[in-house]
Each structure stands twice: as C-alpha cells, then as structure tokens.
Amino acid sequence: MTAEKIVVSKFRHFFETADGPVQATDTVDLAIRAGEFVTLVGPSGCGKTTLLKAIAGFIRPTEGTIECDGKPVRGPGRDRGVVFQEFAILPWRTVRRNISHGLEIGRVPRQRREKIVTRLIELTGLAGFEHRYPHELSGGMRQRVAVARTWAADPDVILMDEPFAAVDAMTRLTLQEELARLSAATRKTVFFITHSVDEAVFLGDRVLVMTRHPGKIKAVIDVPGRASGRDWESFKVDPGMLAIVEQVLRLVREERGAAAPSAADAQRAEARA
C-alpha cells in the first residue's frame, strides 16, 4: 500500500458568467499515489485544466473536496509546483535566476541554492545558457527552464498542464524523454495533462481518460514498466505499449466522434480555463 498523495472526491465545478453558471466538469473522483506519474487525456474543453487548477489551489471547487497529504487544499502552495503550457518563466530574469526563483522565495542559503541550480541546469541540458534571458532561447529551452524551476523548488507534487503543446514536434520528443528520466530519477508525484494519447501512455504509470464536456473520468488504464525507463525508439516497437495506445485512442475517439450537444458550453468553459 502506497500512501495517497492527492485525493479528489466528488469534485464538480461551475464558472460564474454573465449568463449564469457554466458547468466546467462533471463529478470527478481520483487518487494519485506518492511517486506515481498520472497522465490525464481528454478532448478540448472537457475540464482537464479546471481540475488541475483546482488541485493547484488556483480555483476553489464549487462542489467536493481536494486533499493533499490528507489536508484540504486551500490555495496554491510550495508542496504543489505547476508547469504551464505557455512558458510562464519571467522575461526579466536570466535562466539561472529563473530556476533559482523558488529557492530564493524559500530562503534557501546561497551556496545550497547554487548547487541545486547547477545540477538542474546540467540535467535539463541548459549548460552554457545560464546567463541568457528567455527571449534569447527557443521554445523548447524556455520550457526546460520552467521545468527546472519547478523541480528546483522540490515540491512533493508536480502539476503539468500540456507543457509541451507549444514546442515543435522534434523538440517535444526530446523533452518527453528528458521528463521521463527526470521524474524517474527524482521519484516525484506528477499529474500531467495532455491531449496527445502517445504522450499520455509514454509518460504515465496510469492514464486517465476524460469524457467530453462536462468531463468526468471515463477510464483508467495502467501502463506497466515506467520504472525501467522509457525512450521513444523502443516504445514505438513495443507491441504491449502500442496495444495500450490503441486502446486509449479508441476511448478518446469515442468522445471526439460523439456529437457534443453542448459545444458552445464547452467552448465557453475552455475560454474560462
């Protein structure tokens, strides 16, 4: 029995709009165990970002509860780091100062801070770029900085919201492999949102599939063997993995294929999230 890190029970969320409340998600129950890498895949506007924001503490659930280590989540905190899709690193800080930001906030002594940052700069392949500003970097490198910044602060749980959606396809493959290695090496609990089935299966111990708007968890698929490490070359020829990808793809397709009766609602919910 591994300890449960994050427990979401009977979560349901509505956004207040000028035309009254809009439902963002249906009832969601889920538990993430310590050290587990859980990926969530679902169609656009199904409410996956809403769920992540609620776990991060950025929004208060309309119904239900979210607990981290048995304590209810009341707001954002150092125990839950977040990596955003849109490279949320600060343009006025160099690579190094961005990565050390969480440590500065946590008043970690300078020497230890420098050591941690240097190690992460090496782990994420940013060596030689420490003193550059974000606008001098490619999208892939900027996202490496964001990932390194979150890891440096050493949170228990890392929440990632489609972090690789905005980088080019080649870079994405590299970043996914790096993330797989980094998360395995540091044994972090990760909750990762994506709309890519390949990515969800490649990275996860478990893949959650969400229904279309208003979303709820439709299926949970276990993916074995993350501990022994994954890379795309072997993943692509592993029949076991490909079967899982096919299975998840079918589940997701059912959601996409079905005519969404509340497409306008889904769009509005997407815009709010």
Binding site: A56, F58, G75, P76, G77, R78, R80, G81, V82, F84, E86, A88, I89, L90, P91, W92, H101, G102, I105, G106, Y133, P134, H135, E136, A146, R149, T150, A153, P155
Partner: protein, 277 residues
C-alpha cells in the same frame, strides 16, 4: 609562430573595427542633423530673400549672436535650470503617486473598468485648461506651474501603469504563487518589472506633454523658466531672444529624452526583449 602573431592581430582588430564603427556612427549622426540644416538654410533664405525687418525676423547668425550673449551672461543657464528643475520635481512626484495608484487600479479589474472613462475625460482637459483655476488658488507662483505639470504627467503615467499591470500574463503570478511567493514578492518580482515597459512609455509620453505644459504655464505665471524668457522677450520685441529660447526648449527636450529616458529603457526593457515599438 602563429601563436606569437595572434595577439597583435587581436589587438589590432578592435582598433580598426572602432574606426569603421566611428565612421558609420558619424554618418548616422549626419542623417539626424540633416533636417536641422535644411531648416536653417530655409530660414536664412527667407530672411535674405524677403525684406523682413529685425523686429519681425532675425537671421540665424543674429540668433547665434544672441545665443552667445545670453549664454555668456548666464541667462540661459538660469532660465533653463528653473525649467528643468520644475520638470524633474514634477516627474518625481508623478511617478511616486501615479505608479502606485496605477498598480492598485490595474490589479482590480472592476476599478480599472470604472476609471477608464474618467481618465479619458481628464486627458481631454489639458493642463493649460487648469491654469485659470490654479492661478486663482495658488497665485502666480511655482506651485501653480508644478500643479499644471504634475497633472499633465500623472495621467499618462497612471494610465500606462494600469495598462502594463493588466497586460502581464496571469500564469507569471500563478507560477510564483505555487513557488510560495508572498503578495509583496509578487509585486516586486512580477508586477513591477512586468509593468515597467509600459511605465517607461507613460513616462516618455508624460515628459513630452509635461515639457510643453511647463513652457505654457511659465509664460503666464512669469516666475522664471524658458517660457518666461521667451514671453518676456516679446514685450520688448526681441525676436532673437524668442527664437533662441524656442531652439533651446527643443534641444533640451531631446537631451532629457536621450540622456534620461533612453538609458532606463536600454538597461531594462530592451535587455529583457520587451521593447514595444
């Protein structure tokens, strides 16, 4: 062998590069001066071609002589320093008051919405339009001038601070809150630097408007400053003084912009890749 010769090459190349760079810089310098040269030439031609008496128009040479005279008697220095001091005080006060208010309003969506119309209304009432009231309230004093200039400066600074704060991506603050940042941290690390590009734009606009309002106010208040200088010269028909004063007003503004505002921009906004053109 090659190692020994390498340093001398290395030592030489920066020198030759700077000579070339210098020449290029001179060329761009000339390009900037060209319109001024044309203006002086046209001015000279009108004076020489038309039959204008000296109490209507003086030649560039006469203006230059007046300039030399005014400088040597310390008149320019005295009047210009009054104007610049007033602008400096006004800029300081406007930043100290306008930036915090702009912040508070900027982070509050409802306040920003409520204030937008009001700020536009104020923008419509120029600083000069406040002069009658200001003179009644504060008399013909420096206070009156300052009130006018601060009013002119503060509106664009406040407005642009507000816009700047609102333009900062929400995810910057969210990411930092997840790193455990306090409210003060957010202001210092996210909102202040994030709004800075916009604040600099506001300062730049404000200095331009403020400088013009200052000269106008000085002409009416008559307590020193370059506006006082040129308006006073009118009473005695000293066309040369008026023209010299106007040229100095224009030149000083360029100096203020290039020497004060641009370096701030280069050190911050341009380095961060946030320059808005």
């Amino acid at each position: 062998m090659s190692l020994a010769s390498a340093p001398s090459v290395a030592a030489k190349s920066p020198g030759s590069a700077s000579v070339l760079g210098g020449a290029l810089q001179n060329l761009t310098g000339l390009r900037i001066l060209l319109p001024f040269a044309v203006l002086v030439a046209v001015w000279w031609a009108i004076k020489a071609g038309g039959d204008f008496p000296d109490n209507l128009l003086v030649s560039p040479l006469q203006a230059w002589n007046a300039f030399v005279l005014l400088v040597s008697h310390g008149v320019i220095a005295e009047y210009a320093s009054t104007s610049l001091t007033m602008l400096g005080i006004a800029a300081f006060v406007s930043l100290a008051v306008g930036v915090p208010i702009g912040f508070v309003v900027g982070v509050n969506r409802y306040a920003a919405h409520a204030l937008e119309g009001f700020l536009r209304f104020l923008q419509g009432i120029s600083g000069i339009a406040w002069l009658p009231l200001a003179i009644i309230w504060f008399g013909f004093s420096h206070t009156t001038t300052l009130v006018i200039v601060i009013y002119t400066l503060i509106v664009p600074i406040l407005f642009n601070t507000m816009v700047g704060v609102r333009a900062i991506p929400e995810s910057y603050a969210l990411a930092l809150r997840s790193l455990g940042a306090s409210r003060l941290r957010l202001v210092v690390d996210v909102y202040l630097p994030g709004a800075l590009p916009s604040i600099v734009v506001g300062l730049r606009l404000g200095m331009g408007y403020g400088w013009r309002a200052l000269i106008a106010a000085e002409m009416l208040v008559r307590k020193g400053g370059l506006g006082d200088l040129i308006f006073g010269a009118r009473t005695f028909g000293q066309i040369d003084r008026i023209m010299v004063g106007m040229i100095v007003i224009g030149c000083l503004y360029i100096v203020v912009d290039r020497l004060i505002i641009q370096p701030i921009e280069n050190l911050t906004v341009a380095r961060w890749g946030l320059l808005r053109k």
